[in-house]
């Protein structure tokens, strides 16, 4: 088994610049690979979004099986504490630049599980979310509109949640550790 190089040092701040910036952003916006992780109810509406009736592949989006190759993680609805831990791991395994899309009311302010002891209320405390799409669940059309908006943001170079995450890592870590009692994960995993 190989040794993970960056396991215990803080990741350096990655910057992307250069003459290709425009083309890069253009390409990134048109080739969003979504990690196939249905974290909540929203997974049920992601399926129509990515299949024949609405066909997100028209915009170059597709599901990939592994976080390493993905650009976008869709937090589809509520997150339980147990899932949050996995989602953080998945997110950190993704390679920059990466984006987070939050679907539904639950990640915004708890949604219908605001009083549940096992579902988090505010996703922005734990992950840098670029796009919030509300609805319960958002229809495929709304999800597509959300992705479209994400594409516009990427085109303009404004979707930089991943940069914020590295900058404010300590703050995010603090929040994450507050609710994940037993932190059995590598500190830095990307």
């Amino acid at each position: 088994m190989g040794k993970d190089k960056f396991l215990n040092e803080k990741p350096e701040k990655l910057t992307y610049s250069g003459v290709f910036k425009k083309i890069d952003n253009w390409a990134r916006a048109r080739s969003l690979w979504v990690v196939a992780y249905g974290t909540g109810c929203g997974a049920i509406e992601l399926r129509p979004t990515f299949t024949s009736r609405f066909d997100a592949e028209r915009f170059g989006m597709r599901m990939v099986g592994t976080p390493r190759q993905a650009d976008v993680i869709v937090v589809s609805g509520y997150l339980t504490v147990k899932t949050l831990k996995r989602v953080i791991r998945v997110y950190e395994q993704m390679q920059s630049p990466k984006y987070v899309v939050a679907l539904g009311a639950c990640p915004i302010n708890g949604g219908m599980y605001y009083d549940s002891y096992n579902a988090i209320n505010r996703l922005d405390l734990y992950l840098p979310v670029d796009i919030w799409v509300t609805g319960c669940m958002p229809r495929p059309e709304a999800i597509l509109a959300g992705f479209k908006r994400l594409q516009e943001l990427i085109d303009d170079g404004k979707a930089d949640g991943w940069k914020k995450y590295i900058e404010a890592l300590d703050w995010y870590r603090g929040n994450q550790r507050k609710i994940i009692k037993n932190w059995r994960m590598p500190n830095y995993n990307w």
Partner: protein, 176 residues
Amino acid sequence: MNIIERLKERFEVLIAEKKRKDLLIIETTKKGLIPMLFYLKEYEGYRTLTLISCVDWIEDKKFQMSYILWNFRMKANIIVKFMLDRENPDFETVYKLWPQAEAYEREIHEMFGVNFEGNPTQNEELILEDWDNIPPMRRDFDTLKYSMEKFGEREPKSRINIRKEISEQYDEWRRK
């Protein structure tokens, strides 16, 4: 002789209620439960365990344990229940009778803190992970408070009773 009479003959039956054509509710004691389940399974054809459930009657300091059985031939359900002391919630497993009892009991152990002696996996986490409070399904666990403390909310809601607010608004002169 119907089943209620047959059960009464053999076991201690505290309450027997025919809820529906196909649903019978029997209350028995802690001691009589497992023999009764065994009898129902082996001799009455209630061969399937559909559900094990637990209810917290905190006022009476009791847990109600319910076992729902299903008779495939008679097409009928029976609920066998008994009251368990809430302070010392120790009971035995019925894992030997039905394999799925293992998972049900594991869940009840996690959610209510009932201890099933003989269940091999009951101490493994099933649903919760790193739980740090009293078993959450107990009535005295306040999930709203826990959630607000642990997860916070975006804009603290006033949680005022709007009805009260309105009536007090009009009530002002009386308070003067």
